[in-house]
Symmetry: C2
Subunit: 350 residues, 2 copies
Amino acid sequence: MNGRVRISLDGMGGDKSPDIVVEGAAQAAETLPAVDFLLFGDEARLRPLVDRFPRLAGITTLRHTTEAVTNEMRAAAALRTARKSSMGLAIGAVAAGEADGVVSAGNTGALMAMAKFMLKTLPGIDRPAIATHFPTKTGLTVMLDLGANVECDANMLVQFAIMGAVFARNVLSLENPTVGLLNVGVEGYKGNDAVKKADAVLREAALPITYKGFIEGDGIAAGAVDVVVTDGWSGNIALKVIEGTARFYAHVLKDALMSSPRGQMGALLARPALNKVKHHTDPRRYNGAMFVGLNGICVKSHGGTDAFGFANAIRVAVELITHGFNEGIKQDLVQIGFLPNSQTRAVAGK
Amino acid sequence: MNGRVRISLDGMGGDKSPDIVVEGAAQAAETLPAVDFLLFGDEARLRPLVDRFPRLAGITTLRHTTEAVTNEMRAAAALRTARKSSMGLAIGAVAAGEADGVVSAGNTGALMAMAKFMLKTLPGIDRPAIATHFPTKTGLTVMLDLGANVECDANMLVQFAIMGAVFARNVLSLENPTVGLLNVGVEGYKGNDAVKKADAVLREAALPITYKGFIEGDGIAAGAVDVVVTDGWSGNIALKVIEGTARFYAHVLKDALMSSPRGQMGALLARPALNKVKHHTDPRRYNGAMFVGLNGICVKSHGGTDAFGFANAIRVAVELITHGFNEGIKQDLVQIGFLPNSQTRAVAGK
């Protein structure tokens, strides 16, 4: 990857847009040296925000549109805005080769539908998934799907396992990532049909992944495996439960420490250590979920994130681009036999 | 409720049985003044354990059987042991009126299948559920189902909502508990068919519950509602993710505090506060999931629990019995119209 990375931004997506999008881009611009932004949205609102950050203003091209995809909009309705909404235009910039990747904090269903329609899925992949990584007891763990596919059959789960392992290899630099299938028990007879069938395929097929079998919910944070594979329903719930529980624990800890002078003094003394915990478990640091299985880089930021979190989502996109993430996926899929070589060459030579 | 409470125990259920069962019963006997135990299992192994605790030995009747339900056993196979396994005999004691409630740390699926078969479900309830309560930001929250029913239709979810509200009223003494349906988004169009249909029924039917609509995974620990309703698959995953994340957070905190002399001193000073956090979030304190919808008290302990956790499961059973939990459920179901009055009288007069 030579030269500057070009990121297109959905200026109007997310609960606190456009403010956090612009502020997040400004924060990202401070630490990422060679990024240019294509920012889509309402110019009357975006221009004054961008102009508050001279460094950002110098690397940002603003493209005006008044249309935006709302959180309430269904995927089908959102798709009809593909050529005019800030989200659709931002994805379109990637499809047209004007940008190397897109970041949006908007409606997940709409973003996935449009990204699939405009960027297309990789050959061999039926349905793209949403993946992210976060800290666990043994390091970082990748989990997918996080909500792109509420219902999944066994084939989809097997594809997620492969894509998740590729993600772990390329983004987390794990040589030989372990993969587990989320279930309600580790015994072979437990679970629904999809996980039982996927388990059988993952055990028997000669896939270049280290499959560890079923894991239960408490195995996620324990870091039982490097890649947790599940359907979009369970992944969404699990990820949000992790976030909610971490927030609850922080709240209980703060309450307990502040409720006595002795606790307050202890907290003061231990402040560097407590800040380390806060930093280590800050969900905003891990904001930025990757759409895997698409022929282009598309990163979804948490809808309710702040500027710091949005900046991290931009950072994720830039890392995926500079590390050649999609090329890595394609090469791995060829090796596995999911992609014929010719198709890869066609895709790569695009 | 007059006199002593009689609890039957599956002496051979759980990963660390029979030791933790006997030690747990001994611990429970210390704090619960008027309990008698009927203990089922291998006498050669149980007798020496019981004899180590004179107080326990004085209130325990041992009933010998060599058969036990294993963790690997399917429900159908377990059912065939109903008349001879420690689990089956312990449930049978409740069915026969010899015990007021049963506690087991054994195989959940087997326990549910046998309890349903031997105790029967309450009229109006299609499928019993597993419920528990745990601390959240706003107090205690009830969640169900936790794994009895991996797949649930809308009717089952509606019944869980009613039983959960009754649980909250009778066990947590909440006058007007709020109920939410776990989903992957709060927008009405999100989720699978079952939650969408259940949401419609809960909104429209004149049920005596305060229905708050959908909640997401992060709303559980935030205490967004008093009762979280979900299918057994999602509830099992959510509960275990909560446990795993709490354990991870405690690990990160300890690591950070111990990694510097300043952190260690702070931790020493804040020890009472940190112990408060540990106590408040100790999952063993909330061990003991209730089977709701059955015509008898049946409490499932976590299979991997220690004696302290098992003692808590016994405490839960004793509380449910002394508070007349099942009578409360029946009365509420009559009021709602789920149970005709005559049936209640027949059940109550049994």
